[in-house]
């Protein structure tokens, strides 16, 4: 005979449930945490275009980020999302300027090879990306202009002079807000790649991306999306920043710019100065 439903409320049942959940969560974590070796090209299939999400920080971080992105190819990275903290007008402005420069660079390049491109009627189609990502033909369109990038603002994790005991609440608020730029609108997909170089907001955004992968939201994990790349600041020669220490075991690739930091936690990769 089946036990009465009241037995579901016993302590031992609750404990058993907790243990089961704990084991399941641990196994899931083990499965999605990057292994000790840097993961390269783990995507299923061979993508032709990608969406990239860039987390910007205060002055110095933003400056370095745009130095890193200077050779960004808008034919491959067809949509860019820039995440800035509320009140950081400088970073938002820099993102706009970067996109503008990208547009000008493309216009110059296209003017150079006008004949060949004009024959295919390329220009008007550039803006319409996203839907036809699988077509190889799309590869050659430069995706520039206002439709190809978004600047998203999320609240600061901790404001200056904010009392310490309220920080967990504002951090949680930031975490909830961080899902918006990741999930985008119903029409857009999750980012393929998330790039950051260490502002506090980045830790929370990467946590949000990790949650999406944990629960495989919209195929984040099964389709190999939301890959994370962390680049430690060029100013860090011998020690990692706090964000770096927090993220070194979490991100898919952890890059440092000075040889002395190579191999930190068995994960840091050194590829020379990147900025």
């Amino acid at each position: 005979m089946a036990p009465p439903p009241s037995s579901l409320y016993t302590l031992s049942f609750a404990l058993a449930l907790l243990v089961t959940l704990f084991v399941a969560a641990s196994l899931r974590l083990l499965a999605i945490l990057p292994n000790a070796r840097p993961s390269k090209a783990q995507l299923r299939g061979r993508p032709t275009t990608a969406r990239v999400l860039v987390v910007l920080g205060s002055g110095g971080h933003t400056h370095e980020m745009f130095a890193l992105l200077r050779d960004l190819d808008s034919r491959k990275y067809t949509h860019r999302t820039y995440v800035v903290s509320s009140g950081d007008a400088f970073s938002a402005q820099r993102a706009g300027a970067f996109e503008k420069a990208l547009e000008e660079r493309t216009a110059r390049a296209q003017a150079g090879e006008e004949g060949s491109v004009a024959a295919e009627g390329g220009a008007p189609q550039i803006a319409r990306n996203g839907r036809k990502e699988t077509k190889r033909r799309e590869e050659r369109w430069h995706c520039v202009g206002p439709e190809c990038y978004t600047i998203a603002t999320i609240p600061r994790a901790r404001r200056i002079h904010q009392p310490l005991y309220t920080t967990p609440f504002s951090a949680l608020q930031t975490l909830l807000a961080a899902f918006h730029p990741l999930l985008g609108t119903s029409e857009s997909d999750l980012p393929t790649l998330i790039i950051t170089n260490g502002p506090a907001t980045a830790v929370i955004l990467i946590l949000a991306a990790f949650i999406l992968r944990f629960f495989n939201v919209r195929g984040a994990e099964s389709r190999g999306l939301c890959r994370t790349v962390y680049v430690e600041s060029f100013a860090r020669v011998r020690t990692l920043s706090l964000s770096g220490k927090l993220l070194v075991r979490v991100v898919d690739r952890f890059l440092v710019q000075w040889e002395g930091l190579e191999g930190y936690a068995g994960r840091a990769e050194y590829c020379g100065i990147l900025v």
Partner: protein, 196 residues
């Protein structure tokens, strides 16, 4: 600023930048001290431009004494902080075979190095727990810049002419001394799985 200056092919410009958030006032004073001015004169500098930011009072005071000292042999001028960056000034330095003296903030260092001009970086020793000194030491070791001391800049200024001839190119070329140098764009492609 510089547009009002008399500019001849012999003109040589030293540009000093002190940081945006908290201007490095000791650097302003150090550059305008008699020993630095002597070193600048010796190296043939004719113009000195100081980005003083919000520390205008410090600059005004120190520059009036400095002007008396150099008696018109060096034109001394100051500018405020420009949120758009230092491109205009750095381009001028590049044209005028000049020299940049900067605080050790990584943003200013990166910006100045792109113009391939000799750079003297002066770490702010009064800041606690910062990595300015570390970065400056590492960059000097790689031959990208010269490190100066705020107590006495004259030595670094005198070295700067010879340094111009042997400074390393920045950013480093993608090969050679680094074993595995890749561009960040290549790393992104690799992570996403793009094949060329």
């Amino acid at each position: 600023m510089a547009t009002a200056w008399e500019w001849t092919p012999e003109s040589k410009l030293c540009f000093v930048t002190t940081g945006a958030t908290a201007p490095f006032t000791a650097l302003i004073e150090s550059v305008l001290s008699p020993s630095s001015l002597e070193a600048l004169l010796e190296s043939g500098f004719t113009h000195l431009l100081v980005q003083h930011g919000s520390a205008k009072d410090v600059f005004t005071k120190a520059s009036s004494i400095a002007r008396a000292h150099v008696q018109g042999q060096i034109v001394i001028d100051g500018i405020d902080f420009n949120p758009d960056g230092l491109q205009a000034q750095l381009r001028l330095v590049q044209q005028a075979k000049g020299l940049v003296i900067s605080h050790a903030g990584s943003g200013s260092i990166l910006e100045a190095l792109r113009y391939q001009v000799p750079l003297i970086v002066v770490p702010n020793t009064s800041l606690l727990d910062n990595h300015q000194e570390e970065l400056a030491v590492a960059m000097e070791r790689s031959g990208y810049l010269l490190r100066g001391h705020v107590e006495d800049l004259s030595l670094a200024i005198r070295k700067s002419e010879e340094f111009r001839t042997r400074m390393s190119q920045f950013p480093p070329v993608t090969s050679g001394q680094h074993r595995e140098t890749k561009s960040f764009a290549a790393i992104m492609d690799e992570t996403v799985g793009f094949m060329d």
